[in-house]
């Protein structure tokens, strides 16, 4: 066993894990309705492959990854597509996202599965399989795994870190998975190993899960691999990818570098398991293990189909009467689900029923006294109180100077804050503000570029027109000038004005009609008239000055 390293800070909240860790993983019954959001991973939104009314089979691809940084989604069961529309998402905003709504037909009929022997496939093919099977990081970050299996070009990978730490309180889905399906995990790790060719493979598991450690040890031995299973000290957030890499290898991955550049890569145990199922059995990711716990009669782990609305899994957990919220993810980094209709997605590792006694409403936020407890707890050695000070004052430049974007939002600072300041909330606010500003800045720059291009063009056109006019007047001065040339502009002008007046009148009539409830399309004659009115307008493009005149008249 290799020597372990430490990371700064961290906290030790009560784990609350015992309740849900006792019983084996059970399979959730088929729900009456499935709402599968298309966008379940980091990267671009997959393109929907089905339309309302189509019949889909279990495992059929319903959303295809368009770009490399994207991941496919699949039908969790066979049935009929009811709609492809915006449905409320499992997202703290409570906003909707494009989802595929499927009514199960009860047959649960698989598509034809295509199993492979991972050892015989070229690496490129394996990555494609992973992408098309929708394998993403199931620890909660949902980063597409096929992208992460691309080794850095510059250096060989030193350590492949497999994350079985599961440091969030309440959560036991990885624990149960390791206890029950250790061999599948180990075989999945072997797939990643073959893709990345690291010098060593380290499986980190927090030492409060002795059964999982034992199961993983024997599974690794059983399949004859040389993976090292390392118990790591229980301390939140030891299961953060960067913290686990630090503990196991001593490497610190800065915020602006990707871990392979530093010679390490990290996968969750559940991801490894789904990777193995995807390659060796051809099964895409259509379900996941979810811990259902908290203020419930029956806590445990269930294998739940992706897209199952929260409402449908309530009977499994039997929330107590005073339950007032449902939290997706752990109590440190999770968020409150906006609605009972929000579906289980690839990121849903845990659903906690909350009650006022379990998660009491926050004590009033007091001012920061700069006691530094947050800095001592911060695993990234930031100065959260400084970040808070500037985030609160909306001084975003300063927050970036204090490395806001190195914050992993683990919540350790808020956990220890004596002033009860929702620090993470301030940091998320500042981050999303900065991102939005960057977007605004980019679009403002683009707008400026278009504006300047337009101005340049107008100046050029004006110059050209002036030139034309000068030439025309020269011609006019010459005795050879002809009369029609003089008359033409006046005629078109008059025609155009008449056309505009007619159009205004029609629009008025139409608006009145619309107000009266007539929302039908304009009839064919009207369309013709519209087309006819356009003739005069065509000239307006050539003569912007004239156009401006008419506008002034309009006012």
């Amino acid at each position: 066993m290799s020597a372990l390293f430490q990371f700064n800070g961290g906290v030790k909240p009560a784990t609350h894990k015992a309740r849900s860790a006792q019983t084996p993983i059970d399979t959730a019954p088929l729900p009456t309705l499935l709402v599968v959001p298309l966008h379940q991973s980091i990267g671009s939104q997959p393109r929907p492959l089905v339309r309302a009314g189509e019949h889909v089979k279990k495992g059929q691809r319903i959303g295809a990854a368009d770009k490399w940084l994207s991941s496919a989604v699949h039908a969790p069961t066979s049935g009929k597509v009811l709609a492809v529309e915006e449905r409320v998402a499992a997202h703290p905003s409570g906003l909707s996202a494009l989802s595929i709504v499927i009514a199960p037909d009860g047959k649960d009929e698989w598509i034809e599965l295509e199993p492979f022997d991972p050892a015989t496939l070229p690496p490129e093919r394996v990555r494609e399989i992973l992408r098309d099977a929708g394998v993403v990081g199931l620890g909660g970050a949902v980063f597409p795994s096929h992208v992460k299996t691309e080794a850095a070009k510059t250096r060989a990978l030193e350590a492949l870190v497999i994350n079985g730490a599961e440091c969030e309180p309440f959560m036991t889905c990885d624990d149960r998975l390791m206890r029950e399906r250790a061999e599948g995990i180990a075989r999945g790790v072997a797939i990643f190993r073959d893709l990345l060719r690291p010098r060593r493979v380290l499986v980190g598991i927090e030492d409060n899960k002795p059964e999982a450690i034992a199961a993983m040890l024997s599974a690794v031995e059983a399949i004859g691999e040389d993976f090292t299973v390392v118990p790591v000290p229980t301390r939140y957030p030891a299961g953060g990818a960067k913290q686990l890499i630090r503990v196991l290898t001593g490497k610190e991955i800065p915020a602006d570098r990707r871990s392979p550049e530093m010679g390490a890569q990290c996968f969750n145990v559940a991801t490894a398991y789904t990777a193995w199922r995807a390659v060796a059995f051809g099964e895409p990711v259509i379900s996941r293990i979810v811990t259902l716990t908290g203020n419930v009669e029956r806590a445990g782990n269930w294998e739940i189909r992706l897209g199952t609305p929260l409402r449908e899994i309530l009977p499994l957990m039997r929330p107590k009467a005073d339950t007032n919220r449902y939290i997706m993810g752990g109590p440190m980094m999770g968020f409150e689900l906006p609605s009972l209709e929000a579906p289980i997605v690839k990121a849903s590792n845990c659903i906690i029923a909350g009650s006022p006694s379990l998660f009491p409403p926050p004590a009033p936020e007091m001012p920061c006294i700069r006691c530094g407890a947050c800095a001592r707890a911060c695993p990234h050695e930031l100065q959260p109180f400084e970040l808070y000070w500037f985030a609160r004052a909306r001084n975003f430049g300063k927050t970036q100077e204090y490395k806001l974007f190195d914050c992993i939002e683990c919540g350790g600072c808020s956990y220890v804050c004596p002033a009860r300041i929702p620090l993470v909330q301030y940091f998320r606010f500042a981050k999303s503000e900065i991102w939005s500003r960057e977007r605004d800045k980019a679009s403002a720059d683009a707008a400026k570029a278009r504006f300047e291009r337009r101005q340049a063009r107008e100046a050029r056109e004006r110059a050209e027109k002036a030139e034309r006019l000068a030439k025309a007047s020269e011609r006019k001065a010459a005795p050879a000038s002809t009369a029609p040339n003089d008359a033409a502009p006046d005629e078109t002008e008059a025609a155009r004005k008449a056309a505009i007046a007619a159009a205004i009148e029609r629009a008025r009539v139409q608006r009145e009609g619309v107000q009266a409830g007539n929302t039908g399309d304009p009839d064919a004659t009207r369309r013709e008239e519209v087309a006819g009115a356009g003739i005069g307008q065509c000239r307006a493009v050539d003569a912007p000055d004239a156009g401006q005149d008419s506008r002034r008249e309009g006012q």
Binding site: M332, R370, Q383, Y402, D406, Y415, C417, R420
Partner: protein, 337 residues
């Protein structure tokens, strides 16, 4: 249903508890004062506490803030107690009131109240009063005068003439005056000769108060309420400067032990300089802050125009805090070389 934000779990700790712990840590020092001076110190504490709460309440009301959480957080009481312990114990009541009110109103609430003041309110009070009323601020009770509680209370309430018999100079002041008047003729040994309570250290028993604060401060450190860096560096700075001067001219300067146990050294090291709001927050910054404050306090005390330098030293370092913090930011995760 109210909106709560992650993390949904939090540690059981609050500002109020921190403040109460600081108050508890002041008790040993107060107990020694009680032994030296009798219950009159309690009257002084009561005046200061009531003034602080009244000023805090008034400012909260004027600023339209809720009273309960802020009056209850204990920060105003901490300021009041620190002012009482830093001021001469028999200072007239109005001096205490002026000091406390100025601290709470100007030094604290004009900057937005708890957590936002750049200067230590208690030390602002001390500086304002020593600049405005230098004579009153230098009169410390003569412990051998044997005055009763009634007499002392009358003194505080301004009912009795401020007799020289009842009040004298602090050991620091006495030393300084003796050295100045003596033009180098009178040595330190002579100037501190008649003080034999604590083995010739700081004279007349005031070192016992300092020892009380030391005990309270060490308890705070042990409980983790204050870090070790600031107090240790403060005492280190004080020892270094006074020690260097003492080694250079043993007869011209008092020994480090005298300085550590006289004036506001212990109170300053453990309770004033450790104020997280006005102090440095980075580890290296805290060492710089503590050491500079200690050294500066010693320099001002020995060479400056005021009997004690702790208040000015702390204020001057408060000034430097933003700059020190800026240049001592610790390297973050992944950025270490």
């Amino acid at each position: 249903m109210d909106f709560i934000t992650p993390p949904y779990l939090t540690q059981d700790i609050s500002i109020r508890r921190i403040m109460w712990r600081v108050l508890a840590a002041l008790l040993p020092g107060i107990a020694v004062c009680l032994w030296l001076l009798g219950p009159v110190i309690l009257a002084q504490l009561a005046i200061a506490t009531l003034t602080a709460l009244a000023a805090e309440g008034l400012m909260l009301r004027l600023r339209g803030r809720p009273l309960a959480p802020f009056l209850g957080d204990g920060s105003a009481v901490v300021t009041a107690w620190l002012i009482t312990l830093a001021f001469p114990p028999l200072a007239p009541w109005w001096l205490t009131v002026v000091g406390v009110a100025f601290a709470i109103v100007v030094a604290k609430h004009l900057y937005g109240g708890l957590g936002q003041n750049p200067f230590n309110p208690a030390m602002i009070a001390f500086a304002v009063c020593i600049v405005s009323f230098p004579a009153l601020m230098s009169q410390w009770p003569a412990l051998d005068a044997g005055a009763g509680f009634g007499e002392r209370l009358a003194l505080i309430l301004g009912q009795a003439p401020r007799l020289d018999a009842l009040t004298g100079a602090t050991p620091l002041d006495a030393l300084k005056t003796a050295l100045r008047l003596g033009e180098g003729q009178v040595g330190v040994a002579a100037a501190t000769a008649d003080r034999a309570v604590f083995g010739h250290i700081a004279g007349r028993g005031w070192e016992w108060v300092a020892a009380g604060h030391l005990v309270g401060g060490l308890w705070l450190m042990w409980r983790g309420t204050i870090g070790w860096r600031v107090p240790i560096a403060f005492l280190g700075g004080m020892t270094m400067v006074s020690g260097a001067l003492w080694l250079w001219q043993p007869d011209g300067f008092a020994n480090p032990l005298f300085h550590l146990f006289s004036g506001g050294t212990m109170l300053g090291a453990f309770f004033i300089a450790t104020d997280p709001v006005t102090g440095c927050t980075t580890p290296r910054g805290q060492l710089i802050f503590g050491f500079s404050a200690g050294a500066l306090a010693c320099l001002i005390r020995i060479f400056g125009g005021y009997p004690d330098g702790v208040a000015f030293a702390v204020l001057l370092l408060n000034l430097c805090v933003p700059i020190i913090d800026l240049y001592t930011q610790p390297p973050i995760f992944g950025m270490k070389k």
